[in-house]
Symmetry: C2
Subunit: 399 residues, 2 copies
């Protein structure tokens, strides 16, 4: 039995790397960049009008001109044009290339156009309404760094610099394994002593948010079968995530089988609640990492978010954000275990305020649906007070 912090550090110190693969831009959402991305040209690539209006040579304004003959119209998407007479103007559209011999754009709102002439109603500033070539980024500039998670805004940048294909971090191959003879399928009507599987479904869903589509396997409480199947699964996967079978029970074969299969136990059992009977190990030959969670839904869900998610992010090269929140109420934590307590988060005047969720048994699945995550509290002689700042593990994405 080890302390939470030690367990957490051991898990993170076993982070892996899985190499990289090329994906299409449209499939890259949520993936992690495995290359630096550079501007392939200046952004914008030309002096670009940011308004619809007229382009002039400011010299005319200096010389007292306020009426300009219109030489023509410049649309976006057409090659660079030229103003022939610098006392004239060209109508210009947003996104168009600024014509040669012009240096200032006056928007239609400040111009009256009549009989082929544009009369300005407002004194312009030299160089206004022009987005200068390279004003955002110079050709060759680093625009996205390796180890960045790709969200919608990164997709826009990748598109702009012409990355139709992108090197991203490969994802580990994961199989979810449930054990427990009491478990039946969601589509089954359970007998009075049976319950439906739920952990596999919530883990599958949680992994889908990480772009991982895991394999799934259910094993009956039969030691020989478990050994045979785990041995096969080990060779085919980078990660095995198990739920159940790691306590003190007579049919909790997992720890013994894993050791028989040559998996190095890093630790078994952590001084925490929920999630105490967590078994973590590494099979060196196949380089498979084993997260063997207790069968209780709350324990598995908590440990997935506390340990696996940070391990996963670290393995992909992402930094691990530390979030802390403000307690909405006092709470007493006695005993010797690090506690993970379900909370609902409200943003109040810029503060993340954590309120306790009722129903905190480790089997209580519905309370998870009422909470946004867990606060982590170490036992203390005195009470945690309202307003105290404590670490937080999110279990739900908030927009």
């Amino acid at each position: 039995m080890i302390a939470f912090k030690e367990a957490y550090e051991k898990v993170l110190s076993h982070s892996q790397t899985y190499g990289m693969e090329k994906v299409l831009l449209a499939s890259s959402m949520g993936r992690v960049l495995s290359e630096d991305v550079f501007a392939d040209r200046d952004f914008p690539p030309f002096d670009r009008s940011t308004k619809d209006g007229i382009a002039i040579d400011y010299e005319g304004i200096v010389n007292g001109l306020f009426e300009f003959n219109i030489e023509g119209v410049v649309a976006a998407g057409t090659p660079k044009t030229k103003l022939s007479n610098t006392n004239n103007c060209l109508e210009i559209m947003t996104g168009a290339v600024l014509p040669e011999n012009t240096n200032t754009v006056i928007m239609y709102e400040d111009v009256t156009i009549e009989n082929g002439k544009a009369t300005i109603n407002k004194q312009p500033n030299k160089g206004q309404n022009i987005h200068r070539r390279g004003g955002d980024e110079k050709e060759g500039a680093l625009v996205l760094e390796e180890n960045t998670k790709i969200s919608a805004s990164e997709i826009g940048v990748l598109a702009a610099v012409g990355k139709a294909e992108i090197w991203v971090k490969k994802l580990p191959k994961i199989t979810l394994i449930s054990t427990g003879n009491e478990l039946v399928e969601v589509t089954d009507t359970p007998l009075p002593y049976q319950i439906r599987k739920s952990n596999m479904h919530s883990l599958y869903a949680a992994l889908s948010e990480e772009n991982v589509v895991p394999q799934q396997l259910h094993l009956a409480d039969d030691k020989a079968l478990i050994k045979k199947e785990l041995s096969k699964a080990m060779l085919k996967n980078d990660v095995l995530m198990l739920s159940g079978g790691v306590s003190m029970g007579k049919y909790d074969f997992i720890p013994a089988v894993l050791e028989e299969l040559g998996v190095k136990k890093v630790f078994h059992k952590v001084l925490q609640r929920p999630g105490k009977p967590f078994w973590f190990g590494l099979h060196k030959e196949s380089n498979t990492v084993l997260f063997s969670f207790p069968g209780n839904p709350v324990s598995t869900f908590a440990n997935y978010h506390i340990y696996f998610k940070d391990w996963f992010n670290k393995s992909l090269g992402l930094s691990i954000p530390k979030i802390d929140v403000v307690l909405a109420q006092a709470i007493m934590v006695e005993g010797t275990l690090t506690r993970f307590i379900r909370v609902k988060i409200n943003v109040v005047h810029g503060k993340l305020v954590a309120g306790l969720v009722t129903g905190n048994g480790s089997g209580d699945l519905t309370s998870l649906a009422k909470s946004d995550g867990f606060i982590r509290l170490e036992p203390m002689a005195q009470s945690y007070e309202k307003g105290d700042i404590v670490p937080f593990v999110a279990t739900r994405r908030k927009a």
Copy 2:
């Protein structure tokens, strides 16, 4: 030209409902429940042992017993058994049904087992280590409410109550439409006066986070073509989301075409920056809602998150969270426009602290990749101060 608040309220007042559809549990992640979900049985469905150990009748303890003959072993997933002699015990596994004639479970850690006898090392409490039938939820209890967004924890609950198929809100059919002759494909090498499409890609990616797979259409700046294609698209979609062609330019045909097609303009242009030339309307005959955003990447991205996302969530029955954040630095906002300013959010001692991102031109795509969203600031005679609390629009999912 209308004020931001008025525009925002008008958009939200045009929220729609799109009915419901049945999906499989495995496809329900991220969808919105269109039914209340009830417990189909008590949870847990039986008095359930929460530990591996022995089950006894506490009466024995009262009578001074500390040694119990072991009658047998009760595994999880087996029918309810019975302790024959209440001075004996049964070994019991986590998740097993508490046997008749027992009312207390003592974990192995507090018991010594030798020669078919269990000797207890620690005084138990009556009823300990039993998760009572219905202790979490009674049969028929409401466990998930309609209009809840399904995350991994809700998936667990749905699985537990046997919802293999779920009624969820139907999603609107959306087509993304880009205009602008200067735009080329990501795979193209643009000519000096061309740029690659980026808005379509970032909007597509953003919609994928809402489980929407939009159609895509690019239209050249040709009024007749635009009219023909928009007319067709209107009939086939619940939402058209356009980018570009809504300013004052000679080739900004969108507003005129939409009005010719009988789309009711709700407003055009909002007193805001970025995103001013936003055109919003409704085609009553086909009940199609039109979000016609300016072509600038930052403007489109901002307006998608400011207007569309809340409209979308409201249309699906979700509540719209209001988030505010704390300014990391003073900022002056002059003029008459509501400003949306790119910020990076850090959680510092439970506070969401917003720091400004450099590069705030409305064409500056790379600055979006550096930011987590926009703060919304109304112009003020005096400066906003460090520590002020201001509204925030998230553009990136954290954790």
